[in-house]
Amino acid sequence: MSDLSDLYGEVILDHYKRPRNFKLLPDATHKAAGANPLCGDHIQVTLKLDGDKIADIGFMGNGCAISRAAASVMTQEILGKSRSEAEGLFRKYRAMVTREAGKPYEGEDLGKLAVFSGVAEFPVRVKCATLAWHAMEAALRGSGGTVSTE
């Protein structure tokens, strides 16, 4: 049985109301947009790479609490990381939020990202929780443009 507090925990609501790194970098080296056509959500992710390291990151967009909080926490978690570390984190995060509902998360400790563990109980919200991550990955891979959840 899913519980609302699994989804709308304190950290998620805090990041929704006061998103961190809520900005677009004027000197971005990498950027991409993400869209969820079903709910009309739209997000832009900009990154500045110094060599292989993510030296700065910012996002802006219109979305639900889950998508905005996921973007905000993501920016904090991947700042300072290398490209491959960021992509690796996305793989683990995605595995956590897409695991079978009702099963406890038994993977590696993902630190602050663990607050999104409850998303797995709400399969229709997985797209919200991964929208910014998909955009970040597209930006790093240089594919640019807009990635869509559909």
Binding site: M1, S2, L4, L7, Y8, L13, K17, L38, C39, G40, D41, H42, N62, G63, C64, A65, I66, F122, V124, R125, C128
Partner: protein, 420 residues
């Protein structure tokens, strides 16, 4: 039928026991997430009464055969049932002749049928199609595809902030280039009832063909295609208690006769050789292949069911319910109704300060309340109102005033979760 013993106008004045009517719908008896289901997504699709479910089952148990083909008894029975429903449809919308009612998969297919037949034959380079700002994507995209092919242009009848069409602006848009006006009867996103009779009569004066998307109107109010005066009137079965995958495209015989066939195949031909085929008469001309016979049978049962209650009573009941639901939404601080037209049917769209509709939908769902959230396949409506999305409660006659209170408490829960 259990809920109402007599039929049509004979029950005039009789009081309907709406709770008994509600009991005709098995899906409404279930619990969702430990709470009684409060189904408020009727504009997306309606629930089905037992009589419709039984009619479909009985068709497969007793009458299943292909129509218009076999000389055998069962095929004859299936054909009688299928064509019998066409007569019911005609009576239900006051069509002059059952042959005017073409069975399609739903309103979307009906509009595409008109675009591919009337549109391709009568609309050309430089012509204009007028759509309204309230349209569902299904009454926009088929015309865009046509315009791309033909070099025609779409122009939009604007609306005000309440969601009412500006008829004076419509008058200005009508020109010798206008070949078609395609307008919804009731908006799926905002619930606005459009002044369709006025629009049709103004268009007719200008010699322009009129298509009405009736998907949100036929389930909720009496519809008389003659009185409306449009050329095409299109609706879906699944929003009016019938199965999915069945709908109706209505037009006068003379108009259907003037149009080329659409899909080719069995049932739509008079004779076929490899050199040339000739077409069957309307409506068979537009019903290629084995149709959705069970859907048609279910549609017939749904029409009987609705007609026995009375569409005027259903409209009155839903008006009262809508007022209760709108009042319930307004009582929660921080909410705002979107779509406040004077003439409305069935839909209460709303937003909450600082809370995305998607989150409203998830939290309401935890309370057993089924809402639709998003752009409702009407993105231009959202864009016009400066919104990305709304939450939408859409009612049917089987909803109850108590469910308005359940919605209110679900919305209060949303506020609590967000600490508002």
């Amino acid at each position: 039928m259990k809920a109402v013993e007599s039929h049509g106008s004979k029950v005039e004045g009789a009081v309907i026991d709406w709770l008994k009517v509600r009991n005709d719908f098995p899906a409404l008896r279930q619990q969702v997430r430990g709470k009684p289901l409060v189904y408020l997504d009727n504009a997306a699709t309606s629930q089905k009464p037992q009589v419709v479910i039984d009619a479909v089952r009985e068709y497969y148990e007793q009458h299943n055969a292909n129509i218009h083909r076999g000389v055998h008894w069962l095929s004859e029975q299936a054909t009688i049932a299928y064509e019998g429903v066409r007569k019911k449809v005609a009576r239900f919308i006051n069509a002059a002749d059952p042959r005017e009612c073409v069975f399609v998969r739903g309103a979307t297919e009906g509009i595409n049928l008109v675009a591919q037949t009337f549109g391709r034959r009568k609309i050309g380079k430089g012509d204009e199609i007028l759509l309204s700002a309230l349209e569902h994507h299904s009454n926009i995209v088929p015309w865009q595809l046509l315009c791309e092919e033909k070099g025609a242009t779409i122009r939009v009848i604007p609306m005000n902030d309440a969601g009412e069409l500006l008829v004076d602006e419509f008058a200005k848009l009508l020109s010798p280039r206008t070949k078609l006006v395609a307008v919804t009867h009731v908006s799926n996103a905002l619930g606005t009832i459009t002044p369709i009779k006025r629009i049709a009569s103004m268009a007719k004066l200008a010699g322009v063909t009129v298509l009405v998307d009736g998907a949100q109107a036929v389930p909720h109010q009496p519809v008389d295609v003659h009185d409306i005066g449009a050329d095409f009137y299109i609706f879906s079965g699944h929003k009016m208690c019938a199965p999915t995958g069945i709908g109706v495209a209505w037009a006068p015989l003379i108009l259907w006769d003037s149009l080329p066939p659409w899909q080719g195949g069995g049932d739509m031909i008079s004779s076929v050789s490899f050199e040339k085929s000739t077409w069957a008469e309307v409506p068979a001309k537009f019903e290629a292949g084995t149709p959705h016979i069970e859907g048609v049978v279910g549609l017939g049962a749904a029409i009987d069911y609705l007609a026995a209650i009375g569409m005027d009573r259903i409209a009155a009941r839903e008006k009262t319910l809508l007022q209760a639901f709108e009042a319930a939404i307004r009582r929660v601080p921080g909410t705002r109704l979107v779509g406040t037209a004077k003439e409305k049917a069935g839909v209460a769209s709303f937003v909450m300060e600082g809370i995305h509709p998607h989150d409203i939908g998830t939290i309401a769902d935890q309370e057993g309340v089924a809402l639709r959230t998003g752009h409702h396949c009407a993105q231009p409506v959202m864009t016009r109102l400066g919104l990305a999305a709304t939450a939408r409660a859409s009612v049917a006659f089987y909803n109850t005033p108590e469910e308005a209170l359940a919605l209110e408490s679900a919305i209060r829960r949303v506020s609590e979760v967000f600490g508002a």
